[in-house]
């Protein structure tokens, strides 16, 4: 069995007494896309820094295609940072030349195709580019080496909706061709559209790591509307199968982890005017996960 292209095992990073990443274990298989979600300060960027060797893990291991990171790893690993880094004095074409000289797998035809996709002019100097254009250049550079492993930190940052869609398509295309993609985003919809699996971090810990479809089938929302105010729920709120209960006027909303039918039966026994069970979307799953500690 081949090792997953990205494998983190118990990754921990401490800065003094502060633990930025706390025992994160995560595998991203070849041909799959993992979306990394989390509130600001959750440890996503620090995780990326550790994977890329920008920061030394305090504990745990990182393997890229089954081996520790070496300079040679970067022949097949591409990284798009949150704030695209470019050499301000150079043109876009100069950056492509740099990449052509540095990477054996650099594909000039692919680079030209991507420049056209993002409507970039090779003669433009980096210092004149907008934030979105810089991101587009960084993405062009990353995908031009036809990487087997892609790490993207907020890859659509500053891009317009059309180019954001292009980025997602590029990731999906790369995964379809066997690459492993790990990307972070604050836009849950992007993760829902592009990723097969989702990892959610909170306070340095990985609190969710699952295939998105499994997550969606596991959690449901039961919405009930009563004729008057919501009646006394009895022991319903403390039922371990319920993740969260929200009440607003005559509306009761219960997020369930499993056995939603049984919970619906219990609510139905309170004689609501109407009741329905709906699937959770990823945004609700994310909100549930990050707010669970406050429940």
């Amino acid at each position: 069995m081949t090792a997953p292209p990205i494998s983190l095992n118990g990754l921990t990073k401490r800065y003094g007494s502060f633990t930025a990443v706390d025992g994160v274990s995560l595998d991203v298989a070849a041909g799959s896309i993992c979306g990394l979600l989390g509130p600001n300060g959750a440890g996503k960027t620090t995780t990326f820094k550790c994977i890329l060797g920008f920061a030394n893990p305090s504990a745990g291991t990182i393997a890229i295609e089954g081996a520790p990171l070496t300079p040679a790893t970067f022949e097949t690993l591409a990284y798009v940072p949150e704030r695209a880094t470019l050499y301000d004095g150079l043109t876009i074409a100069d950056h492509l030349t740099l990449y052509r000289r540095s990477y054996k797998n650099f594909d000039p035809a692919r680079a030209a195709e991507l420049l056209s996709l993002f409507s970039l002019d090779g003669k433009q100097k980096a210092q004149k580019l907008s934030k979105g254009m810089r991101t587009a250049v960084a993405i062009t550079l990353a995908f031009s080496i036809r990487p087997r492993v892609l790490i993207l930190d907020e890859p659509s940052s500053g891009l317009d909706p059309i180019h954001q869609r292009h980025v997602l398509d590029l990731m999906i295309d790369a995964a379809a061709n066997g690459a492993a993609v790990l990307f972070s985003s604050h836009q849950v919809g992007q993760v829902e559209r592009a990723a097969d699996s989702v990892a959610i971090m909170k306070s340095g810990k990985l609190i969710v790591n699952s295939v998105i479809d499994d997550l969606k089938s596991g959690e449901k929302v039961i919405e009930a509307v009563f004729a008057g105010p919501v009646p006394d729920l009895g022991g319903l709120a403390s039922d371990p199968r319920i993740v969260r209960i929200e009440q607003s006027g005559s509306m009761l909303r219960a997020v369930t982890r499993d056995d939603s039918d049984a919970i619906a039966q219990r609510i139905f026994a309170l004689h609501p005017k109407s009741i329905r069970t709906i699937d959770l979307n990823l945004e609700e799953i994310f909100m549930n996960a990050v707010s669970e500690g406050a429940r």
Binding site: F54, A55, P71, L77, A78
Partner: protein, 254 residues
């Protein structure tokens, strides 16, 4: 990414050479001088027109300018922090990358030294002091270029561990170096400490030896030292500082 450093070095050299050329042109418009007296502590050397300017003296001047150039390029590893997402994700060891940067920068320091030496020779010739190869010239050339290299290495060693601060270090290093040199003759413990710190001050070693004997800062400060010994120390320190930077920079966390 060494190509980027090459472009930086080339651009800096063009500016540096342009400014030096301007200085030389201005001097060439000035009236020619008669006799030049160079005073050292306890000695005075008199240069009369036609006598020739010792190459060692011109080398000392060139070393000073090489140190100025080294100040401009001397924090290249620190500056690279701004673009580390590009340079540290290259399929090349960071140590090798640092070494390549330094070799390029030091080649630039050598060119800057040579340009300054050429400019000094032109001015000296114009003033009827054509350069002459004195016995100490060889050693002094090695020493003076070494001072530029040491300045470069010192800046790299002081800044490579940090994400920023290169410009601040560039700004304060010259005043600090001059102040330490000036104050190190103070009596008491402060003077002793400053004399110790002065040992890593490149300017401390930038003296020259004429046929009349040593004429260097060390002599003023009570550290007479032959030029060949100073050259050896300067190069050891320059390489030592560069080695520190090569060791520290790749291990630095981003």
């Amino acid at each position: 990414m060494e190509y980027v450093e090459f472009l930086r070095v080339r651009r800096t050299l063009l500016w540096y050479s342009g400014i030096l050329a301007l200085i030389v042109l201005v001097i060439l418009t000035l009236p020619q001088v008669g006799t030049i007296n160079v005073h050292g502590a306890g000695s005075s050397t008199r240069f009369a027109p036609g006598a020739g300017a010792p190459l060692s003296a011109l080398a000392t001047l060139a070393g000073f300018f090489a140190a100025i150039y080294a100040t401009i390029v001397g924090a290249s590893l620190n500056r690279e922090s701004e673009t580390r997402d590009l340079s540290w994700t290259k399929p090349l060891s960071r140590t090798l990358l640092a070494v390549r940067y330094m070799l390029l920068d030091l080649a630039g320091v050598l060119v800057a030294f040579s340009v300054a030496l050429g400019g000094a020779a032109i001015v000296a010739t114009y003033m009827h002091f054509p350069p002459v190869f004195d016995p100490q010239a060889g050693t002094q050339l090695v020493l003076a270029f070494g001072v530029g290299a040491m300045w470069y290495g010192l800046l790299q060693a002081l800044t490579c561990a940090f994400r920023s601060g290169a410009r601040a270090m560039n700004g304060i290093l010259w005043p600090v170096a001059l102040a330490i040199g000036g104050l190190s003759h103070l009596p008491g413990p402060l003077g002793a400490v400053l004399r110790l710190v002065d040992l890593i001050n490149p300017l401390h070693y930038l003296g020259m030896t004429t046929s009349d004997g040593p004429m260097s800062a060390e002599q003023t400060l009570g550290y007479p030292m032959p030029a060949d010994e100073r050259a050896l120390i300067v190069w050891c320190l320059a390489l030592g500082f560069c080695a520190i930077a090569v060791y520290v920079w790749p291990r630095r966390e981003a």
